[in-house]
Amino acid sequence: MIAMQAYWILPNRNQGDDVLASDGGKIVPLRQILEPRLRPEGFSHGVPSELLEKCGAEQSAQVMFAQRFPQWNGNRQLFLVATPAGLDVSGRVVHLGVLFILEPGESPSFELPCAGLPEQERSHARALLRRMRSARRDDTWPQSVRELCELAPRYGPATNVELQRSVVPFHSLYELGPSGLTRKPTAWGKARKRSMWALLVLAAIGIWCAERACQHAPRPLVLSGASTCRFS
């Protein structure tokens, strides 16, 4: 049985009082779909400003932010993907998102209707879906979202990219630095790196100790020179 529910979270272009959502047809306030009181701590309606600021004006349109809350409201999951979607009436960046309400073990599917969305949002929605379905390996943002979809629920609330200004801590897979979005080293990778360093340090200490021991030990008498024996 497929129980997945998916809703578009629409950009607040007119600076309205409510965040609006759509199932691809009818537009309703998001609160009718997801009561604010039931929203988990740290739930985002779009791309955090921190990521947009790090990317700068030119790259920010490419950002894809995703977050996942396993074991939400019982045993269900919340999954959100958002991307910048142009500007509002006063020139602020606004966001378009997809919210998935999933059963345990279910993964989000990006085969969604968007024909019923307002015309201005359709192109952004199609671009988001296209990027999520594409297998291009050089586009790391959707790749990071796909990896978040596959992340085991035991990690708890998680995001595709590390956030430093979030009020709530999230497990994350990627980090955004000056060289762009890069995969964070896994726990195993970190442990391996740490043990390599420990081995190197131990080896250096060992060599130093051995050298010290040699310096302090009584030296055997060494005779050098040439001895000649005459055989007659």
Binding site: D18, P36, R37, P48, S49, E50, A57, V93, R165, S166
Partner: protein, 249 residues
């Protein structure tokens, strides 16, 4: 400053001198400077009311080029605020534990929303715009009134001596779109009085925590500086008025 900005500021001064617009004119004495130091503030208000711009102004920086509709509660690094007063004294405050959050009602009512931001705050700044004032959005059923109703339910959960001040942003736009400033001053005085009455009625029995409303412009730096000085004075003088009654209670 552009000639338009300067003209707007001069008219603002004229408006501020009109009866009913600015009431708190106590001097910001040393005690006030001491009182403000180390205070924690919360900034809430509807979307696009100017919360981000207020934070930028407090940090003495321009609004960043990539400016976004806030999507989630985000921490802001501690920063110093320095306000130069007219008598060349400087008020230095460190803003700590600042959280920037969106203005849609979704954020207001979410568990990690406005209430989480306001908990522990000594002063809550509620920002609205001058068009919210002129369109009477503080009347029953409308957005500002809903927020005031929310504040009434939130106040018992805040610090017992937490104060509320309303900032009415974008006065510069109103000045620029008017030519009859005397009429504008009359309208503003009338609307401010109505807002004041509404806030006091809605927030009863916590009306003593309300320290007043101030017209401000985050965009026009001169208006901002003058208005924020007035706000700091207003909050402190209201604190002095409420403190004895709180102690007695």
């Amino acid at each position: 400053m552009t000639p338009l900005g300067l003209k707007t500021f001069r008219i603002f001064l004229l408006l501020a001198s009109a009866p009913g617009i600015e009431r708190h004119l106590t001097r910001l004495v040393k005690a006030a400077l001491d009182w403000w130091s180390g205070k924690k503030i919360a900034v809430i208000g509807p979307t696009a009311s100017g919360k981000d711009s207020f934070l930028a102004r407090l940090q003495n920086r321009e609004i960043p080029p990539v400016h976004a509709n806030s999507a989630m509660g985000e921490k802001v690094k501690s920063f110093p605020v320095k306000l130069t007063l007219s008598n060349h004294r400087v008020i230095a405050i460190t803003c700590k534990g600042v959280i920037n959050i969106g203005g849609e009602t979704d954020y207001r009512d979410a568990p990690s929303g406005w209430l989480a931001v306001c908990k522990g705050a000594d002063v809550v700044f509620y920002i609205m715009t001058v068009s919210d004032l002129s369109r009477k959005k503080f009347r029953k059923g409308r957005r500002i009134r809903q927020d005031l109703d929310w504040l009434l339910t939130a106040l018992p959960h805040l610090k017992p001596d937490a104060l509320l001040h309303i900032l009415i942003n974008k006065i510069d736009t109103q000045i620029e779109s008017h030519t009859d400033y005397q009429l504008l001053a009359q309208e503003l005085a009338h609307d401010l009085a109505e807002l004041d009455r509404t806030v006091r009625t809605v927030l009863h029995p916590y009306e003593a925590r309300y320290t007043g409303a101030t017209l401000i412009s985050m965009k026009n730096k001169q208006i901002y500086t003058r208005a924020i000085n007035s706000v700091f004075r207003a909050v402190y003088s209201a604190f002095q008025e409420t403190a004895p009654s709180q102690k007695a209670g």
